[in-house]
Symmetry: C2
Subunit: 413 residues, 2 copies
């Protein structure tokens, strides 16, 4: 074995960055401390008690009474794949509401599952009108409609009020990826009539990536349990296989995962205990603050960031009417070196702002203010630092205007 350089491999000691991009963001200190709690056995009554608490805590977070409200052990993307692989049967027609990179991700995952994919799209920077979705449902007769709520790639939030009723009238299930908005903008799974909603911890919930909260309606659970196929080696008389086609993934088999989170406690994976502690603490922090107060805080932070960016002379990206509250896109000014600004922000101010993907790469920056970072002082510090960096890079801009504009917008929002 090679000797390892003890300096390079020293104690964990990351720099204290302020993460004001599209996520991940800094975790709430209570969440980080919760992960330091000692572990428990998988079926210890204290452990299954914590699992039940997580189910109860995430129901209000998702705006639902769904029994099946739990965690997927992986990142937000894992929760998306678990939903689609369990809900969609090969050959099903799925209508994807596509208005950004994460709509394309849904298409990508569905393609691999053998779904027949139809899309109803909006240009990046806009959302898809409900009437266009209704028309597409009528036209293609989907078994499942899948959409993102807030797509950080474009900073747009798709309105979802009324979509569930449309789907149910057409006999379709509705899936929503709320990774980027859960805990920061209202998610009303029951009122919207959504069958499965998934999220992540690393955006508005102020935790680390690595656990994907999920809620599943009873009618979606019925469809999924029809595909239950308990693995060899742990079959039991009290858990009966369904007649539907087997779910093509074992790890993402929601039927077995629901059986694990039920009183049946079917052995599946070993629950990621520290991440469960983190998810539990994220929800406690959010519910302790109060969801309405939390949404208002994100709204104020978004309004302040947007107003401050405009006062810097920057042009804000996308449709004002449908902007996510927790991330703001701004055009990189002509002639300004994007990476030079980001590097200066990071190296002098320890602040991270985001770049962009695909058609927006090199065109916009994304300024986030979410979870533990959706705070007045963090927005103001970011704007002040950005002003200094833009000036240093030769951008001609009004000085000293961003902070008061942001403060006024914070108060007014």
């Amino acid at each position: 074995m090679q000797p390892l350089d003890p300096t390079y491999f020293g104690d964990i000691d990351p720099p204290q960055r302020l993460l004001m991009g599209p996520g991940p963001v800094n975790a709430h200190p209570r969440v980080l401390r919760a992960m330091a709690a000692d572990l428990l056995g998988q079926f210890d009554p204290e452990m299954t008690g914590f699992m039940n608490q997580v189910m109860a805590l995430y129901r209000p977070v998702f705006g639902t009474q769904n029994q099946w409200t739990m965690l997927i052990d992986g990142t937000a993307r894992a929760a998306i794949e678990a939903s689609l692989v369990s809900l969609v049967e090969p050959g099903d027609t799925v209508l994807v509401v596509n208005f950004g990179r994460f709509g394309l991700l849904l298409t990508e995952i569905l393609n691999r599952l053998g779904a027949k994919i139809e899309t109803v799209s909006a240009p990046w920077g806009e959302v898809v009108p409900l009437e266009a979705i209704a028309e597409a449902i009528e036209r293609v007769g989907p078994k499942v409609v899948a959409t993102v709520h807030g797509d950080t790639s474009t900073t747009m939030a798709q309105p979802l009020e009324g979509l569930g009723a449309l789907c149910q009238a057409a006999g379709a299930y509705l899936y929503v990826d709320a990774c980027a908005t859960l805990g920061g903008m209202e998610i009303a799974a029951d009122r919207w009539g959504v069958d499965i909603v998934t999220g992540g911890l690393q955006k508005c919930l102020g935790g680390p990536s690595g656990s994907g909260p999920i809620t599943v309606s009873d009618r979606a659970a019925t469809r999924i349990f029809a595909r239950r196929h308990v693995e060899q080696g742990i079959r039991r008389a009290d858990i009966v296989d369904g007649a539907g086609p087997r779910i093509p993934s074992n790890y993402f088999d929601l039927a077995m995962i629901m059986d694990y989170w039920s009183d049946k406690r079917l052995n599946h994976h070993t629950e990621a205990t520290s991440m469960l502690y983190a998810a539990r603490e994220c929800a406690r922090v959010a519910l302790g603050e109060g969801l309405d107060a939390r949404f208002a805080r994100h709204r104020k932070a978004g309004a302040a960031m947007t107003a401050g960016a405009r006062a810097l002379g920057l042009t804000v990206y996308g449709d004002d009417a449908y902007r996510m509250t927790n991330v703001t896109g701004v055009y990189i000014p002509e002639g300004i070196d994007s990476e030079a600004v980001r590097t200066m922000m990071r190296e002098h101010f320890e602040i991270e702002i985001g770049t962009a993907f695909g058609p927006l790469q090199g065109k916009i920056w994304r300024l986030g203010a979410m979870g533990y970072n959706a705070m007045k002082h963090k927005v103001l510090l970011t704007l002040g630092a950005l002003e200094a960096c833009l000036k240093a890079q030769g951008f001609s801009l009004p000085l000293g205007e961003a902070v008061p504009a942001a403060l006024a917008a914070w108060e007014a929002a």
Copy 2:
């Protein structure tokens, strides 16, 4: 929203259990503390630096020089599925070396992937002789051979020396699930000639479940990159798709995951930062102790537990010659209420011991001593408590013999 009972949903405060079952076990305190470090952006140079350190740290842990040594964001089971879904193409013949519940899990996952499965099996409590595997390879001509190293369901460790050469001679790839032994028994990926090895943190590495270390040989990586299919929305000129069939999972697509862990830094999932910190600290603790010293400590703990169990009058399960060093199966004595003993162990002593699966359910207990718990005092405390509980439940046993027998075995091993 319903008001939440603040007592029930109070600060995280799990009881301080000593976890002496087949895993998960208590994490090393340094690992728990490492997770409390603040987060970083996904492509922050400090973050990608930590990713590179993890790659370097896990090479000696796996006994390999493989470039592709990294983490899968999920539990150990996620790393298994990522390996098989990326390495095995639908219709490939896969030979599963099956000697317990986790061999059946490989079969289960492969079934869902559309592999043609052949098995070479041993009865539970034994391992599969190398000659039997050689004969099966000859007979079925597999594209992939898949086996578990240590199967906690039976406490047996399959010898793997020489298996890689057999596979290579037959043009097959070799996959090994080392979840239950990595960091506790030698894993020699390169010397054994294994193409992919996966593990977990929650056994001998003394961390929480939720991150799956993996190493991939260059020849396996070549096969996997031939199936590369970069998702829409993030395609780049410098990353070219392969001609092979698309990997049916996006989350478990090792081609994209390797591109994420490479200098290309292709965006895929958002790396589970706190779990990465945990995995890094697990490896630092293991390498700091020294792998040989660590294996010796597990050997001593296993020998002590086994000798102590025998001194209690218990019959040890399985073939002595191939026992895992970190978990010992003992028959539940005739007439003794298994759950009464386990409950008394937990409620009076705060010690957890394990039950069993499938054909062994209700027949054996599994006594683990792994990772941070493979320590002399923890083995002795467990044996002393078990003696008291067995006596209380009416088992007639020699008193005061287990501790000295365990101590003698610890010294001799």
